[in-house]
Point group: C2
Chain length 138, copies 2
Amino acid sequence: MKIYFSCSIRGERPDPETIPMLIGHMKKHGAVLTEHIADILDGDEFDVTDEEIFLRDIAWLGEADVLVADVTAPSLGVGYEIGVAEALGKPVLCLYRGRQRKRLSAMISGNRGLVVREYDKPEEARGFIDEFLKSCVG
Amino acid sequence: MKIYFSCSIRGERPDPETIPMLIGHMKKHGAVLTEHIADILDGDEFDVTDEEIFLRDIAWLGEADVLVADVTAPSLGVGYEIGVAEALGKPVLCLYRGRQRKRLSAMISGNRGLVVREYDKPEEARGFIDEFLKSCVG
């Protein structure tokens, strides 16, 4: 299974411990096309242009079987990728950390086409990932 | 012409003077389906559920001829709507206020399928709106 994982990069920084842990966990289920995110959480990507990032990421999204997005922090890029993945008919899991949460966008929380799950401890997010990815295979 | 206008609502608040001015200006070109945004900038919507907001907004987006988005603030909903509008083949104008800008997502700035314009003074945004909407008609 090919998994596209997405979280805020240039907006609010996500938890630098949780994201690599979630990516490591997803790798038990298949290939995480965007696993480099774990390495750029505190620095962005400096050796590629924005257009190169866009073209690479949109190709990966087209290639992926599923999208897993951490929607804890507001992000134009994550929202964009959810919209594109849904239009392409790909299953989408949106995870958000409840205790850090600002109010989630109604375009996510009100959309029954997405699987939206709130986690408190990062271990709970792993359980939601297992449940979602197994449902995509089965 | 039917215009869908989008900006951050539940994330970072946009400028409460600029947004109503932009909406008023767009109304010279056609119907702004989301003109209620000018009234909820400091209060969100309390009399509808998130699912009702989603279903209403996605229907408006389907009906719209174009999307105009203020992408100054990170927003999952705005990003989602840009992804959906692009998938539906609708022209998209993304405006961001440079002096307030955090780094724009590469999924927006690196995407040649979108018209992206930086403004400093709100009057400049009006000029970009005129230019974009005329190009959609002509």
